[in-house]
Symmetry: C2
Subunit: 74 residues, 2 copies
């Protein structure tokens, strides 16, 4: 796949706003705690479905949480 951009996110910010622990987010979404940790540390790209679940939990849009920053642009 192309690598036009780099994925980044503000998951920990949205999580802090809600006052949730990583474990609590994991439980609410129905994934493992490891998954939340890995996403916050930007280890890989989640499935679109998981991205939607997170956006829904945090009452916001996917693109408010996740950004795709095109390389070589500023």
């Amino acid at each position: 796949m192309n690598e036009l951009g780099e994925l980044s996110n503000q998951l920990s910010v949205f999580r802090a706003k809600k006052g949730y622990s990583q474990a609590e987010v994991a439980k609410r979404i129905g994934v493992s705690r490891q998954t939340i940790i890995s996403l916050e540390k930007n280890k890989y790209s989640p499935s679109l479905k998981l991205a939607f679940e997170l956006a829904y939990l945090f009452d916001t849009g996917i693109e408010d949480i996740f950004q795709y920053n095109l390389k070589g642009e500023d």
Copy 2:
């Protein structure tokens, strides 16, 4: 993972607007043609990265192409 909603998309609509074949979309994004076919037929949830690449190709936002329709809501 939770199944709060069902994923759907209008990939074929956006593709038609651009006048691209499935093969052309695949080539531009750098994935296989099978992947495009499977997504259009809603076989699985793509990675968020791929969703961003598609949105970028079609000059629109992820949530314009993909929807997460909450179950039991109308």
